[in-house]
């Protein structure tokens, strides 16, 4: 942590204004409808000051905290996925012409976003989606100029396991990196672009004590985590457990609702649909998030290859933790814990994989 600066809480607005004047829409965590999620932000006062989030399998609750911190909670309800890989978006339109039809592309034309307070897990997820959607023009149009002000996590939830997933709590790739202390942030510059952005703020250097406190807080966040994933490529080990009775057991509880896949920041499956216009003169071809738990995801050439919920859960878990490696050179799981928090039935991925592989689920 060389060249660390200190950004007092009171000067967070200066940073936000600086980012805005550089041409970005600022996205940051906000409390809305009882959850903290990433939303457009104009001033620091909109951050969830003094809130903590309780996250356990199937349960999310916010509580008032003793401390007045802006980031004393873990993963927001949804990751950064919807900001780059839109949940629903038109890809092109067809319009009737006198001699056939014409095609109009529908590329997004949005101002680049700057994410304030991006968690390590969410940044790792963006890096994984970058690989998957590298050649997707719609994703790239939103993603290419995005700026990340990372927040090294100091308050993990019970659902978190980024340490064992190897993605956090310290973010590894960012333009600016923040670690929150009682009165402000230790700020690190992670890119020339980030450095240029904060130059006009003329911030003082962080003291050795502040740097030490920041490092201690992040290390404590790593040590607090009790859930864990077995390390490395699990494809071979999971393939050997393809007939494990646990798949049927979890299917008794699995609602096949797809919430895990919709809350997962790396799940990228999508489907496409055509919508004809009312005047019969045009049609829109759009893409929307799909789920391997959905009705038609496994429907190929006239039959369903995974009719049972047990097969769908197994497909999701073995792809996420196993086959993803062969496909993309990494695990599909970043340890954010959203799949277990937002599962209405409270199914815990770390518990399921441990049961299938015959391991203890917790690292304690």
């Amino acid at each position: 942590m060389t060249h660390a600066l200190f950004l007092p809480h009171a000067r967070l607005d200066d940073l936000i204004r600086q980012v805005q004047s550089a041409g970005y829409r600022v996205i940051g965590p906000k409390l809305e409808a009882g959850v903290i999620h990433y939303a457009e932000l104009n001033v620091a006062a909109e951050l969830p000051w003094g809130w903590q989030a309780e996250q356990t399998p199937g349960r999310y609750r916010l509580h008032r905290s003793q401390q007045t911190l802006a980031f004393a909670w873990a993963a927001p309800a949804q990751g950064l996925k919807p900001w780059f890989f839109a949940p629903v978006e038109p890809l092109w339109r067809l319009r009737r012409t006198p001699d056939g039809f014409g095609l109009e592309p529908c590329l997004p034309d949005a101002k680049p976003i700057a994410v304030l307070g991006a968690r390590a897990c969410d940044l790792a997820a963006v890096a994984r989606q970058d690989r998957i959607l590298e050649h997707d023009p719609h994703y790239q149009a939103r993603r290419q100029d995005a700026l990340f002000i990372a927040l090294h996590c100091t308050h993990p939830a019970a659902s978190c396991f980024c340490t064992s997933a190897g993605t956090g709590p310290r973010a590894s790739r960012f333009d600016l990196g923040l670690t929150e202390l009682d009165t402000g942030f230790v700020l690190e510059v992670g890119s020339p672009r980030g450095g240029k952005l904060i130059e006009p703020l003329a911030l003082a250097g962080a003291t050795a004590d502040q740097i030490q406190a920041a490092q201690t807080a992040v290390a404590a966040a790593a040590a607090q985590q009790t859930r864990r994933l077995p390390a490395g490529d699990l494809a071979g080990r999971l393939a050997a457990c393809i007939d494990h009775p646990r798949w049927d057991a979890v299917a008794q509880r699995c609602l096949a609702c797809g919430n895990c896949t919709q809350a997962c920041p790396t799940c990228f499956c999508h489907a496409r649909r055509e919508t004809a216009s009312a005047d019969g003169q045009s049609a829109e071809h759009s893409r929307h998030w799909d789920s391997c738990f959905g009705e038609l995801h496994g429907h190929l050439a006239g039959f369903q290859v995974r009719p049972q919920t047990a097969q769908r859960y197994r497909q999701w878990l073995t792809h996420k933790l196993g086959n993803w490696w062969a496909q993309f050179g990494a695990s599909g799981c970043v340890g954010c814990g959203r799949c277990l928090t937002w599962c209405p039935a409270g199914i815990d991925l770390t518990e399921e994989v441990a049961a299938v592989l015959g391991e203890a689920p917790c690292g304690r």
Partner: protein, 253 residues
């Protein structure tokens, strides 16, 4: 020649017809493309005319209606059942689960002999072949227009059997079940409404009926964990699409 469209009402509240009438500019564009031969709620009435596209609102709950739907089917090209009544018998099908007979009729009406009601309130598909079912109470206007525009373009429309949760997450709504402990039926309910109720901070009450992969036993266990009694849980499912949920439970034993 423009395709001929008929809209027919059976035992229902007219809400699905209103969903069509509420489509504004899209409705006017649609009316340019079809000949509206029967739609009493909007004006034209020709109940015996042949049509290319018949939209049926309501359940079949009287002997007279059973005759009428057979006639419409015989004269219609493509027949679409609209909404919870036409696809699952509607809320009036709650009587299907009660003891058959005239006891409740006698309790409600001074002269029950004038009430010609069938023993059960049935979906259209129980009497005649149906080409397309659109779910909901009422149907979703955008889904209805998408379906009609697809059919008129010569395509086939197929409503999704996925759960409401996909649409809910895609809309960016906070999950009311996980974040507030609301007994939401979204995880077992068919999508199509755009997660209307969760978007207003309320639990889904299942008006689109069960999703394709619905696991009712698991959701009931979740509700029990929230502190709901068996009777309270039962009432959550015994509502607008009670018959569809009941049929699913009987299938799974």
């Amino acid at each position: 020649m423009k395709p001929r469209l008929g809209v027919y009402k059976f035992t229902s509240c007219d809400g699905c017809q209103l969903a069509l009438l509420n489509q504004g500019a899209d409705l006017l564009a649609l009316l340019d493309r079809v000949e509206l031969v029967h739609f009493p709620e909007a004006g034209p009435s020709a109940p015996e005319a042949a049509v290319d596209l018949a939209l049926i609102e309501g359940s079949i709950s009287t002997p007279e209606e059973a005759e009428r739907i057979r006639g419409i089917r015989a004269r219609a090209g493509h027949l679409v059942a609209l909404g919870a009544c036409a696809t699952a018998g509607g809320i009036q099908a709650l009587r299907n689960a009660t003891e058959a007979g005239s006891a409740w009729r006698a309790a409600l009406y001074p002269q029950p002999e004038f009430i010609a009601t069938a023993e059960r309130s049935l979906p259209v598909s129980a009497l005649v072949p149906v080409d397309l079912e659109l779910f909901g109470c009422p149907v979703d206007g955008r889904q209805l227009m998408a379906a009609l525009n697809t059919v008129l373009a010569g395509g086939r429309y197929r409503p999704s059997g996925d759960s409401v949760c996909g649409e809910c997450k895609q809309a960016g709504h906070a999950c009311v079940l996980v974040s507030r402990g609301e007994p939401c039926l979204g995880p077992v309910t068919r999508a199509g409404c755009g997660a209307l109720c969760p978007g207003q901070g309320r639990g889904c009450y299942g008006c689109f009926g069960p999703s394709a992969q619905a696991n009712l036993a698991s959701l009931k266990a979740v509700f029990a964990g929230l502190g709901l009694s068996d009777a309270e849980i039962g009432r959550r499912f015994a509502f607008i699409t009670a018959e569809a949920f009941r049929a699913l439970e009987q299938k799974h034993g």
